[in-house]
Symmetry: C2
């Protein structure tokens, strides 16, 4: 898909295609459509991230709260979005044994309790051994810095999903700061 | 459901219950959870509406773009949310004859083309005769005032959905301005 195609889309098609760049937040894509035309993938991505950055803190927390736990309820119940299912599967989280799954669920619950949003991580850049280690580490971070870290992960996820849709090599697009 | 129950909810449950108060925008409920505890239904409602009012214009347009057409594609394909299905059904929009449906689809298309968002109306407060009349009238409004009108309809829809969930008589809650 090239940018000419993207810029020709009506809002219905745009939201159908890009509605899950930010997990379960089609509002973001629907807002970004107002900013067309886009000069390139980086420009399109920047508009997604600028929308998130401009939200009040409650809205940024809200974006995080729309994300599923890793190896959590939605994975067990088969109610993950297609993108999340693929990402958690690539990280090996769909084939944990019962002990590892339980440990991750306990860590997720502690994290949610501490921060008021779920642990968000770009699973495709991690793996089944690194996920619980990183979760245990971030559990001890300060809430302010942890919010920034988690939003950075949202952007890494969005970056990879956009690169998938536009057939780009993710490494050739400047990664989110 | 009483406010004590609402205020006791974790964010997962809160988003499960209130995620579609604003059509297909669970982000709004997920953000509103940050504002708990809520003193009463009016207070809860005010937080939903304040979040919308504080969005940049692109975000407000984005909220509108997450709404389905009345008697449109999603109704034909059976992909409406449960709430929208009920509301469009109550307005008689699920049993239009082919001519009326075609006329409404043509008006919807002209409206989307003019304003860059779909025609949004609290269908439960309208009926199958009034909907195309109101759509034809609003087609001639100025974009600035039409955005305000459309967001007012989003709030009426949210008001009725909240009253449903909390078992309140909608007429006893101050209607959205």
């Amino acid at each position: 898909m090239d940018m000419e195609k993207v810029n020709s889309m009506g809002f219905r098609e745009f939201v159908d295609v890009f509605g899950n760049i930010i997990e379960k937040c089609p509002l973001v894509a629907a807002a970004v459509w107002s900013q067309r035309p886009f000069s390139d993938l980086q420009d399109l991505e920047n508009h997604f991230f600028a929308f998130i950055d401009a939200l009040p803190r409650s809205g940024q927390e809200g974006i995080l709260r729309c994300h599923p736990d890793l190896a959590g309820r939605d994975l067990q119940q088969g109610t993950l979005t297609a993108e999340s299912q693929r990402e958690q599967s690539q990280a090996g989280l769909t084939s944990l044994d019962a002990d590892d799954r339980l440990r991750l669920q306990q860590l997720n619950a502690r994290y949610r309790e501490r921060f008021g949003f779920p642990f968000v991580l770009a699973a495709r850049l991690s793996d089944r051994d690194a996920v619980p280690r990183e979760l245990a580490r971030r559990l001890h971070c300060q809430p302010e810095s942890e919010l920034r870290t988690a939003l950075g992960e949202v952007k890494k996820i969005g970056h990879l999903r956009l690169a998938d849709l536009l057939g780009a090599d993710p490494a050739r697009v400047e990664p989110p700061r």
